[in-house]
């Protein structure tokens, strides 16, 4: 540290008004660290240094004030939870409820280290043999105090505490009785909450409520199905004799303890698996999800089959159409057939009529004046008619109707003879 020069002239304040600081440069400062944060606060709120200091100081005082009222005190038991502890044999301290002895029966496994220390102090002040003897209890009746000391020893050692917590069955919450009526969430939430204390992983997902999302529910059950528990059962071990006289016996006990522990651990794991299975089977949400899934599946199936359904419909329609068409066709065919038949018959009849008309024409024409040759004419006309084809028949019949009977016959006889259908000898009359 340096020292200041002594005052030679009589001045209190003399400011060199003409002096000016060298022009400052604006630079960014690094926005890190608590000093920057303080700077930012000061600048934002326009605090002066002294104001800021006062605010900081006030804040510090506040935190001190708050801690004066100890919130932990309220969580401790005001009175001993179990009066029978007072007469508990100190040698059997393992069977005593250590949390109750410490006045932590409400907190149990939730008690923090600090709370344990505080509670212990409180209990010691109350139950120390010296205090008790002042109240008229014999000095040698210090069993409960010993239990408190044992409890403190157990609960402040993290390994021992874990072992004790593992076997703290008072903190276990039993699942609701099967068959009884209960609200699923109200009954099961505390069960899972108490089981959650054994989880190696945190956070443990919560059971949630009826409105929990499917993902949450699935996550919850998958967590519990794969639950990794630190629960151990060392606390229930039979005491291993510490005298070294009988080593074999000692080892035997150790082995027995280990076997018993393993058995208990397996049983505990099995119990948890069963518990989770049961909860899952009773969970109304899982049921709802399954139902929903089923519905969804059906809907999907319905959607998936929509294509084939449309196809089938189209096919049926096409079939019906084809059938109708076929029927229509058959009907039209039948009618056409009938028409044809009629036509044929009509043509036949016309033919017959024409033939008759031609046959009868010589007779009607008076055999062209040659009545004596009537038989020959009839015979020859018959031959002509028989050898005429349909067209010729119509032609001839038309011409005969017109009147020129003989000429017609002559003409046709000529044609027939020329075509070689009839020999001239058989048509002698007309040629």
């Amino acid at each position: 540290m340096f020292s200041l020069p002594t005052l030679t002239s009589d001045i209190t304040v003399s400011v060199n008004d003409s002096a000016k600081l060298t022009e400052a440069i604006r630079r960014p400062i690094e926005p890190v660290g608590k000093h920057f944060m303080h700077h930012a606060q000061r600048t934002l709120r326009n605090h002066t240094w002294s104001e800021f200091e006062r605010i900081q100081a006030e804040r510090n005082v506040q935190t001190v004030d708050e801690s004066n009222v100890d919130p932990d005190e309220l969580l401790f038991d005001q009175e001993l939870a179990d009066e029978s502890l007072l007469s508990h044999d100190a040698r059997d301290w393992k069977t005593a409820d250590l949390y109750a002895a410490m006045g932590l029966s409400k907190l149990r496994f939730k008690a923090t280290e600090n709370q344990i220390i505080k509670a212990h102090r409180k209990q010691v002040v109350k139950y120390h043999p010296d205090k008790q003897s002042a109240a008229g209890v014999g000095l040698e009746q210090d069993a409960f105090f010993k239990i408190i000391q044992k409890a403190f020893e157990t609960l402040t050692d993290s390994t021992k505490r874990q072992q004790y917590d593992s076997c703290d069955f008072v903190a276990d919450v039993e699942p609701p009785k099967k068959g009884s009526k209960y609200d699923f969430f109200e009954a099961w939430a505390p069960v899972f909450q108490s089981e959650a204390r054994f989880s190696k992983k945190s956070p443990v997902p919560q059971l949630g409520d009826a409105n929990s999302s499917k993902k949450d529910v699935e996550q919850f059950y998958s967590f519990w199905h794969r639950f990794d528990s630190w629960r151990t059962f060392e606390f229930l071990d039979e005491d291993v004799p510490d005298d070294s006289s009988n080593r074999d016996h000692k080892r035997y006990i150790e082995r027995k303890n280990k076997a018993a522990r393993d058995k208990k651990k397996t049983a505990d794991n099995a119990r948890l698996v069963k518990l989770v299975e049961r909860a899952m089977s009773e969970d109304p949400r899982i049921k709802a999800f399954k139902e929903e899934e089923k519905k969804e599946k059906e809907r999907k199936k319905w959607e998936r089959e929509a294509g084939s359904r449309a196809e089938a419909e189209a096919k049926a329609k096409a079939e019906a159409e084809a059938k109708a068409k076929a029927e229509l066709e058959a009907a039209s065919q039948a009618s056409a057939k009938a028409d044809k038949k009629k036509q044929k018959e009509a043509a036949k009849a016309a033919k017959k009529k024409n033939k008759r008309a031609i046959r009868n024409s010589p007779k009607e024409a008076g055999y062209f004046g040659d009545a004596d040759k009537a038989a020959t004419i009839d015979e020859q006309v018959g031959l002509i008619v028989d050898s005429l084809d349909d067209d010729q028949l119509v032609d001839v019949a038309g011409k005969i109707k017109a009147g020129s009977v003989k000429e017609t016959f002559q003409e046709i006889a000529g044609t027939l003879k020329d075509s070689g259908k009839l020999p001239a000898s058989l048509l002698s009359y007309f040629i």
């Binding site: 540290m1 002096a19 060298t22 600048t43």
Partner: protein
């Protein structure tokens, strides 16, 4: 409890994550493989993704599907990226104008990954490692970036992080983070100038800081994208390759795989040599079926790599010059980054810089043993700090009007009893500022002269001739004193009084005096002196 905010330092070569554990200590988080400096490497084999050290191993067998050195590419157009860094790994190609990588997925399938996607995946792996370690979901982080990262690059990083459910609450500069971590570990109220030198795998960055009342100001920064630990590796590889060639008449440099094997083992050897004085290197079937086995000592290594070490020294010196400062103005050099483990780096710097400069490397008792974790630790510390602020508050605090402040250009101080200038507020002090000093021994009538000072570097030449003259009188001529003939130059930093600002007089001080120097945001200087006993106050304003 709300989820913790973690600090991430994301480097080209390796990344670290840190958080403040419930005991209020900084915990640098190890990934499931136990690595605290997690290599920033992603590798793909078929459908599997490897990350960290496991992916690094793939560089030998599966280099084309292993992505390294991708950090600097984010948010930059393809043509601005130096893709030669990826020469020994998955080649960088252009995808949508950005850097990307093409990864074979087996059965002839290929996947195109943009650098954003790669960064997302890398950050996701870091996030998972942190969650695994803490046992809680993590969704907020403070990320460190080099000082020359642009806003676009930060935005791109932010988007990539958002994609995997990680919100970046604040970006902080890597050197600031390192300095913050250092100051937290070794608290000091002293105002000083510090060079933070971060020597990474493929790049080196340095920044000159002025620390004034706990507030950091960067005076200059420098970046060298071609200088880094890889250069040391290259020298070592070259040395081993030559040695191997003389022994076996085979050149391991011709074969990419041999080179990759050599590289991985050289890196291991280099790291070993930072802690031990000798190291062995043994590689089965390095090239053409020949094994390679040899040992190397630290001295040899330092000789081999002396050129590179020299460059590191030059780099720091050039940065100091860039800040318009003299090495004498610097109080300390804080070494960060993986290269800082090399003892030679610190000894080299001690040699080139004046004695007054403290080298804060792993060998110094007043510095962290893990220089590569400084940035992540600093980020975690900042994360704890910002966790107490809500988003709007933080945003307001980062406004330019608050961040950009005025800085004194010349020191302000007092005259002591010998008439010398004693600086109280150093140059580059940002204001508003308040500084209190207590003089416990002060008594009597005292004069407080407040001046602005000038700092000059004084060179004094000590002529060895006089000495010699004295010697001659006593003894015979000594022939070995040749080198002493050159005059020795002693450089010293001196302050001189410049402008007188004000004088305060205080009478009858019994025991102790408290002086308060205050500059408000408009540059108004107030000096007040308070008698500790009588609470008498004398105040002057300029």
């Amino acid at each position: 409890m709300s989820s913790p905010v973690i600090g991430i330092s994301f480097g080209n070569t390796s990344s670290s994550i840190a958080y403040i554990n419930p005991k209020n200590d900084v915990d640098v988080i190890a990934n499931p493989d136990g690595e605290r400096a997690i290599p920033s490497v992603l590798s793909y084999v078929g459908e599997d993704e490897y990350h960290g050290g496991q992916a690094l191993q793939q560089l030998v067998r599966n280099p084309t599907n292993t992505i390294i050195n991708f950090r600097d590419f984010i948010g930059l157009p393809f043509d601005q990226c130096d893709i030669s860094r990826c020469a020994n790994s998955a080649p960088a190609v252009e995808i949508d104008g950005k850097v990307g990588f093409v990864i074979a997925k087996g059965e002839g399938k290929e996947e195109k990954l943009t650098v954003d996607e790669v960064v997302s995946r890398h950050l996701n792996r870091l996030k998972l490692a942190a969650e695994d370690y803490i046992g809680q979901k993590v969704n907020q982080a403070v990320l460190t970036v080099p000082t020359n990262f642009t806003t676009e690059q930060k935005d791109a990083l932010s988007t990539a992080a958002d994609k995997v459910g990680l919100k970046i609450v604040q970006f902080i500069n890597e050197p600031s983070a390192a300095l913050l971590a250092h100051i937290e570990q070794f608290p000091s109220e002293k105002d000083c100038n510090v060079v933070v030198a971060d020597f990474g795998g493929v790049r080196s960055d340095a920044a000159v800081f002025a620390i004034r009342g706990g507030i950091f100001t960067i005076l200059a920064t420098a970046h060298d994208n071609t200088l880094g630990g890889d250069n040391l590796d290259a020298e070592l590889i070259e040395y081993f390759a030559k040695d191997f060639q003389t022994k076996t008449k085979t050149n391991p440099r011709k074969n990419a795989r041999s080179l990759a094997k050599l590289r991985i083992n050289s890196i291991v050897t280099k790291k070993t040599l930072s802690n031990a004085t000798t190291a062995t290197i043994s590689i089965d079937s390095l090239a053409d079926g020949f094994d390679y086995h040899t040992s190397i000592n630290r001295m040899r290594y330092e000789l081999v790599a002396s050129k590179v070490f020299g460059k590191f020294g030059e780099f720091i010196n050039s940065t100091i010059k860039k800040a318009n400062l003299d090495p004498l103005d610097i109080d300390a050099v804080l070494l960060a980054g993986g290269v800082s483990f090399s003892p030679k780096l610190a000894t080299n710097l001690e040699y080139t810089l004046p004695e007054s400069v403290e080298i804060l490397g792993p060998s110094n008792a007043n510095a962290s043993n893990y220089p590569n974790e400084l940035a992540a630790s600093g980020a975690a510390l900042q994360a704890r700090l910002v966790a107490d602020y809500d988003e709007d508050e933080l945003k307001e605090a980062l406004q330019p009007i608050i961040v950009n402040t005025l800085h004194l250009q010349k020191p302000i101080g007092l005259v002591d009893s010998e008439g010398n200038f004693v600086p109280i507020l150093l140059a580059e002090t940002s204001y508003p500022v308040q500084k209190k000093i207590t003089l416990k021994k002060a008594s009597g009538d005292l004069l407080i002269g407040v001046y602005e000072g000038d700092s000059t570097i004084e060179e004094r030449t000590v002529d060895p001739a006089e000495k010699k003259a004295n010697e001659e009188a006593d003894e015979d001529e000594s022939e070995w004193s040749d080198e002493d003939d050159e005059p020795e130059v002693i450089r010293e930093k001196k302050y001189t009084l410049s402008t007188k600002l004000m004088e305060l007089g205080i009478k009858g001080v019994k025991s102790g005096l408290e002086l308060v120097f205050n500059i408000n945001k408009d540059g108004k200087l107030t000096v007040s002196a308070r008698d500790l006993k009588t609470n008498q106050v004398v105040k002057g304003e300029l």
